[in-house]
């Protein structure tokens, strides 16, 4: 009996231990939260220019937890993720090592990289309003406006504890303090048309359906939906709405980042730095802008024409690291107000 077990186990070990085969030189290993359609053209060009082959593991939620659990055995060189909270969390958990390429300081504005180079933004996105073309006339709105009674039953957003909303709420706390933000979020919650559920795109569909008139959504989804040939219905969703940059006339719109860091135990740290340098080049930044409709983090590179057609971005001056430092308070507020249960009066 024991022998069978031992045999079975060893057989299973042999058949299942199919490890990702990573070489040690001339290659770089990427763990990516970002989708393949964005990354593939980038790593193709990277291989052409540098001769370094990039192996990519696409992973969704729980990426940082996995890297942490893998510890010193992790094959990851570069981790690409979204949201300032994730980048700062990686640094705080000691998962990073400083990026050494001089391109970092030369290309990236101070506001969008860690002082010690533990992470850098690679592209920017803004948390904006999508309003119904038919039912909303306003062309200028502020984040405070949507707390007004006139928006009662007209707002939509994804769950409050999603990183994108946590980012926005944390920015409100950094700007206006906890008490003011609690009051604001309570009013926003009670203005919701329904309990928050679904993705950012689903909120835009809600506008088409008239479930709501204003949705809080990231900028680039407009481009992604307008150019979605795989599911052309999404063009209709997007065509029902237009973008308003909140606080354009005041403090400026809340901006979040997609970015990356070099893993602490990176086996190919030198190649990792070459990759980061490439991702900050004009060419790579243009790919970010054109395929994903994000804003390039390098100021010299222009956003895509479609992106520019939505208006001009004026970014809030609240430093991202300060936003990130309030994310626990923001999450606590979402729980305290039971935001995800929808309007409560």
């Amino acid at each position: 009996m024991k022998m069978t077990l031992a045999r079975l186990t060893s057989a299973l070990v042999l058949t299942c231990a199919t490890l990702p085969a990573f070489a040690q030189s001339g290659e770089v290993n990427i763990y990516s939260y970002r989708e393949q359609s964005l990354l593939q053209p980038l790593i193709d060009r990277f291989a052409e220019e540098t001769g370094i082959k990039a192996n990519v593991l696409y992973a969704g939620d729980g990426l940082l937890e996995r890297v942490a659990a893998e510890g010193e055995l992790s094959p990851a060189d570069v981790v690409l993720t979204v949201d300032i909270g994730n980048l700062v969390a990686a640094e705080e958990q000691g998962q990073t090592q400083p990026i050494t390429t001089p391109a970092l300081a030369e290309r990236v504005p101070e506001a969008f990289r860690d002082d010690d180079g533990n992470w850098t933004a690679l592209s920017l996105r803004a948390r904006v309003f999508y309003v119904s073309k038919d039912r909303v006339d306003a062309t200028a709105l502020s984040y405070d406006d949507i707390a007004e009674p006139e928006w009662k039953g007209r707002l939509c957003t994804r769950p409050g504890d999603h990183a994108y909303n946590i980012g926005l709420i944390a920015q409100r706390i950094a700007l206006n303090g906890l008490d003011h933000t609690r009051e604001w979020l309570t009013k926003v919650r009670d203005n919701l048309a329904m309990a928050p559920t679904g993705s950012d795109r689903a909120q835009v569909k809600n506008i088409l359906e008239s479930t709501c008139d204003l949705a809080i959504v990231n900028t680039y989804y407009m481009g992604a939906m307008l150019t979605n040939e795989a599911e052309p219905e999404q063009k209709d969703w997007a065509n029902a709405a237009r973008i308003v940059y909140p606080d354009f006339e005041g403090e400026g719109t809340q901006v979040n980042v997609a970015g990356g860091f070099i893993a602490k135990h990176a086996p190919n740290a030198a190649n990792a730095n070459t990759l980061i340098e490439f991702l900050l080049s004009d060419e790579a930044q243009q790919i970010y802008a054109d395929t994903n409709f994000e804003f390039p983090v390098v100021p010299e590179v222009e956003p895509a024409e479609l992106t520019q057609s939505w208006g001009e971005l004026k970014a809030s001056s609240v430093p991202l690291t300060q936003v990130a430092s309030y994310r626990d308070e923001a999450a606590a507020l979402v729980d305290e107000l039971r935001f995800n249960e929808g309007p409560q009066d």
Binding site: M1, M3, T4, L5, L8, L12, V13, T15, C16, A17, T18, L19, P20, Y31, V56, L57, Y58, A59, G60, D61, G62, L63, E65, R66, A69, E70, G71, E72, L73, S74, P75, A89, Q93, P159, D161, H162, A163, M194, A195, P196, T197, G198, S199, D200, R201, A202, K205, L208, E209, S210, T211, A230, E231, E233, Q234, D328, A331, A332, D335, R338
Partner: protein, 520 residues
Amino acid sequence: MGLPILWLAFAAMVSGSNGLAAAMLPTALRETTMLMLSVGFMTGVLGLVAAWLVTHFEFAGRRLFDWALILPLAVPTYLAAYTYVEFLGFTGPPQQLVRLLFGGETLRDYWFPDIRSDWGASLVFSMVLYPYVYASCRAFFLMQSASLDLAARTLGASRARTFFSVTLPISRPAIVVGVTLAMMEVVNDLGAVQYFGVNSLTAIIYSTWINRADFGGAAQLAVTIVLVIALLILLERAARRDRVYQSHRDSRVPPGRERLRGGWAAMASLYCTLLFALGFGVPFGQLAYLALRRVAPENVAMTLNALWPTLVLATAGALATVAVGLVAARQSRGPAVSRGAIKLATLGYAIPGTVLALGLLQPLGQVDLWTNRATTALFDWRPGLIVSGSMLALVYVYAIRFLAVSHSTLDEAMRKRGDNMLLAGRVLGARGLGLLLRIDLPTLTPALLSAATLVFVEIVKELPATLLLRPLGVDTLATVVYSHANVSLFVNAALPALFIVLAGLVPVILATRFGSARKL
């Protein structure tokens, strides 16, 4: 088998949480309880009535419904959620019909219920989970003597009165067994509750861990969920105890079916048709439509990419689970200590995949770390992440979660076979491994195959644990569907979703071919 739970209990006590989890606990408990109760009630009523109709009466389509009413089990809860949101949404056929009939262009012009809500979740769960109750009640009625019913009818009780005074009370244990299974599925589910915006315990555990990086808090919530499950199991065990007491084998009268006529027959047929259409017709039809409407090459490529890892994982998982199940079933005849241990081990079926994944990620990482330190010191060789970075972690989780499925199938088969052949083998000098290879394997082949099939399909459908523990970069059918649905691109993942349902149909078809749907 107890490793993930012990680790979580340990983590819940020692690691500091930032207190966020505690704030969400009342909401999570309330919403989970409401969901369990409403689904429990609806599956109980729907399943019982269906089983009662199919076993007690004769009406048009009865022989078809007899097995077709089990088919919704092939639709995992998360797929039911995605398809129903699509079907009842703004662009779905019912709303298009409403717009066509009454005019109006947007939801401002007419009223239509929004399925993305707590009640919507209850309804959709009930539509695909009622077969648990149906199957257990049906099996119970088929075994049960019809003498009690006949006595009641002879004494002049109406059909309705017989149902409420006789059928309902005696089938209570079967209902409880089915309802408990349905409730466990509710607790285990992650994809559907997230899609419907229900803050269930499992959803909160996931977001506490993933969105808030609060492992301690997630562990504390996970311990709560294990307590909820333990309570459910106690209830179910209590109900099973009653069952032995209530069957009267000596007075067995074969259950004759009364022919329904006119309106009653039409109502019975309509009821079963509706149940089948809502539980299987809508999800399957919607998937087939979405998958075949536009067959884009990239969707086919995505499906094929996910198919291979799915097959490898499900095969490896099924083999491992059946092997462990076989050992367990043999030991079930052993001393009380090992019987108790097996009972505990089979409880893994009740523990949500999210909780198992939560409890395993860190211990497995440690195993890898120490293995590598040992091999580096001894042989100067670093094998890397042989457990947590490979499919082994998942095979391990599947074995924990689905041991009960393989064990119960094999245990039953061994009981039916009896010990005569084993004893004969012993007399002829076979021992240990020889006994297993020459007696157990040949005599148990059908049971081994059916256990392996059942586990295989459960693994194909499994989402939460696969999502969190799969080797990075590896996608299965279930995870592909989940990740697309979560960014509102479910339509593009309809093809892999269709494959999951088709795989789920296999054991149902096998079971009906061999004439017993009880194992489902």
